[in-house]
């Protein structure tokens, strides 16, 4: 979203806020809290040529850079009104400054159980850590996978919406959100809406959510999570939507490397499901294992076609037609996952008695071609406000494997986070 649009949205929300606020309210009567953190990071990335990316510069990643990322969150309360805001900046050595308005919304409590909201906010459903299909409006490519699991969902831009929530009792809640396709606030997305029913199953130690949503691919789904005993958690998320998210790529018969783009089938129902289990050991080691299936992904035959296209355009550096084809392939394959079956595993191990130093290893693995990406993170809390960390990431698999094709991005980050 452009800064102009962001500014317009902020003005709109502030204007709405003033319309609703009683004139007698003065700023000093608000109960306000300001929190935030700032990260100073040194990145060393090694973007490399792959059969899909003939020139590393094409993906726009700097080899080495230092980045400062301040995040400021504000909450203010006054009687029935609450205001939430989060601004995130980014400043790197190349002086390419960025300012994102992640959240800014006002919530009005009709009473202790009914809430109305307007503005930009993030809504999340589901429990999966690897791939979260119940997060129906999230474009996974917007998530910065180099951040820790918690920060990935904090440092992300929300969506402009009108919201309604009703807490029926301590077990049941209903919610509805509308993200209108109005030029000033649509964030270049179509009209979207979501209705959700959340229910804590009494006596089963389980939660369930039912979702109905309207989007480019409208659908419905649900989530279920259940704790078993003192250490185990089981969770599943399943979404069914109408219309395929990925387009089919059909090679032209002449072997030139050119291809036709056939829009995904709009009539069929497609399923995305994640099943996971988490176990916490008495030593506080936490493990997660998840399986993810996506009907949208390319099947074997389609993937063979894609690989043949990639191979046919391998001389993109010298051939103009191949160059154009490769750029088009790149664009078409810009999705978080391209195939149907994945495994995700994560282990977090405290390596100090005081639990202030830990190692996290996470792997996303493609079961079809045995390619994958792994991230390792070592984090040390030095004081109540300072944390330092080292992050290493790389992919594995054959040169035409999904993750080797797309990422080709071994990277190392050294960072220091100050919380205030």
């Amino acid at each position: 979203m452009s800064h102009k649009r962001a500014n317009r949205l902020v003005l709109l929300v502030i204007f709405f806020c003033y319309l609703l606020m009683p004139f007698s309210v003065s700023a000093e009567e608000w109960d306000m809290s300001v929190d935030g953190h700032a990260e100073y990071r040194f990145e060393n990335n090694q973007p490399r040529q792959t059969p899909l990316i003939f020139s590393p510069t094409i993906i726009g990643v700097e080899e080495s850079q230092t980045v400062l990322t301040p995040v400021l969150a504000i909450q203010a309360y006054k009687e029935a009104f609450s205001v939430f805001g989060q601004i995130r900046g980014e400043h790197d050595g190349e002086q390419k400054d960025r300012l994102e308005l992640d959240e800014f919304f006002i919530e009005y409590a009709l009473n202790s159980r009914h809430f109305l909201s307007v503005g930009r906010r993030t809504i999340i459903h589901g429990q999966s850590l690897g791939i979260n299909p119940a997060d129906v409006f999230l474009n996974r490519l917007d998530v910065d996978a180099t951040k820790s699991v918690n920060r990935q969902r904090i440092e992300i831009q929300g969506q402009n919406m009108l919201g309604w929530e009703m807490l029926v009792n301590s077990q049941l809640s209903l919610s509805g959100y509308w993200m209108p396709d109005i030029k000033a606030v649509s964030q270049d997305r179509p009209d979207r809406a979501l209705l959700a029913v959340s229910y804590v199953l009494p006596g089963m130690n389980a939660d369930t959510n039912f979702l109905i949503f309207d989007d480019e691919q409208p659908g419905a789904g649900g989530t279920f999570s259940k704790s078993i005993g003192q250490s185990t958690l089981f969770y599943v998320e399943a979404i069914f939507h109408q219309g395929r998210k990925l387009d089919a790529l059909i090679p032209e018969q002449n072997g030139s490397g050119s291809f036709l783009i056939k829009e995904g089938d709009k009539s069929k129902i497609f399923n995305r499901t994640s099943i996971g289990i988490s176990y916490i050991f008495s030593s506080n080691i936490v493990t997660n294992f998840e399986y993810y299936h996506d009907d949208n992904g390319y099947g074997e035959r389609e993937w063979d076609d894609i690989q043949s296209l990639i191979y046919a355009n391998r001389d993109a550096a010298t051939n103009r037609v191949s160059h154009r084809n490769q750029l088009s392939l790149n664009k078409q394959l810009r999705h978080f996952t391209l195939r149907r079956d994945y495994g995700f595993s994560r282990i977090e191990v405290p390596i100090s008695k005081q639990q202030n130093r830990k190692v996290e290893i996470a792997i996303l693995h493609n079961f079809h071609d045995n390619s994958g990406v792994f991230n390792t993170r070592l984090e040390q809390e030095f004081s109540e406000t300072f944390t330092a960390g080292l992050y290493l990431s790389d992919s594995y698999g054959g040169s035409l494997g999904e993750f080797e094709l797309r990422s080709g991005l071994p990277s190392a980050h050294l960072y220091l986070v100050k919380t205030f």
Partner: protein
């Protein structure tokens, strides 16, 4: 003197028998008290002064790191824990309703179900702080009278896991006095033999017309017997609205 010797021997024998009788009778009496059916309820009543209340907890781990939490209790089964400090954790909230537990991490806008065994800081598990009532998760398997201390009865209660939320398999709880003040609790792993930690209930103060512990000293046997200190303060009787115990409310807590 020779005539008196049998007399003294008889007297000594009598004295020994009398003292033994008193001791046995006393022990029998203590044993009877320890078999009292509502001992665990008494213990829970000491740890929880009212139906609905709140307090603050300061946890200091063996490294000297601190966490300050605000805790709200409603009934025996609904608990809310909110981090006040350190800044890194501020706003993080844990919700317990019966056997269900969730965590909310500020900024993430996501409420996640968690396992009861999740730790807060040092040797303190979330359930150690929030599950005020033993009777929710454990039942008395047997009791044993211990020697009196300063004229007060002391009982050992062996507690066994009762609910899924119980994070220990067995607990050996030592209580003292007629009011059944908790003194010491030893927590065992699922094998029933592996000692995980020992908690000492200390700093008894008069709160709401009864002596209640204000310090919980936890010795972590899995980590070289390192100590975590949990200090309770600012007890207030407050009625927390029911809506606050809905997971969807967590992001709204101030």
């Amino acid at each position: 003197m020779m005539l008196l010797k049998p007399f003294f021997s008889s007297l000594t024998l009598f004295a020994v028998l009398f003292v033994s009788f008193i001791f046995i009778a006393n022990s029998s009496l203590a044993m009877a008290n320890c078999a009292e059916p509502n001992l665990l309820e008494k213990v829970d009543a000491i740890r929880g002064p009212a139906e609905s209340f709140q307090f603050q907890v300061k946890i200091t781990d063996p490294n000297g790191s601190n966490a300050t939490l605000s805790v709200r209790i409603k009934g025996q089964a609904k608990n809310l824990i909110r981090y006040i400090a350190p800044p890194r954790s501020k706003g993080r909230t844990l919700l317990f309703v019966n056997d269900n537990m969730w965590v909310y991490i500020p900024g993430s806008r996501q409420v996640l179900r968690i396992s009861p065994g999740q730790r807060i800081l040092g040797g303190a598990a979330s359930a150690d702080i929030a599950r005020i009532a033993f009777g929710l998760d454990y039942q008395v398997i047997d009791t044993e009278a211990l020697p009196d201390n300063l004229g007060e009865r002391r009982c050992l209660l062996r507690l066994g896991r009762y609910s899924d939320a119980a994070i220990y398999d067995t607990i050996e709880l030592i209580i003292a006095g007629e009011e059944a003040r908790p003194i010491e609790a030893v927590f065992f792993a699922s094998s029933g033999k592996r000692k995980l930690k020992t908690a000492y209930y200390e700093g008894y103060q008069s709160l709401f017309e009864q002596n209640r512990p204000t310090i919980l000293r936890i010795v972590d046997h899995l980590n070289d017997d390192e100590e975590t200190i949990v200090e309770y303060s600012n007890y207030q009787l407050t009625a927390t609205p029911d809506a606050w115990f809905n997971p969807a409310y967590l992001k709204r807590l101030k």
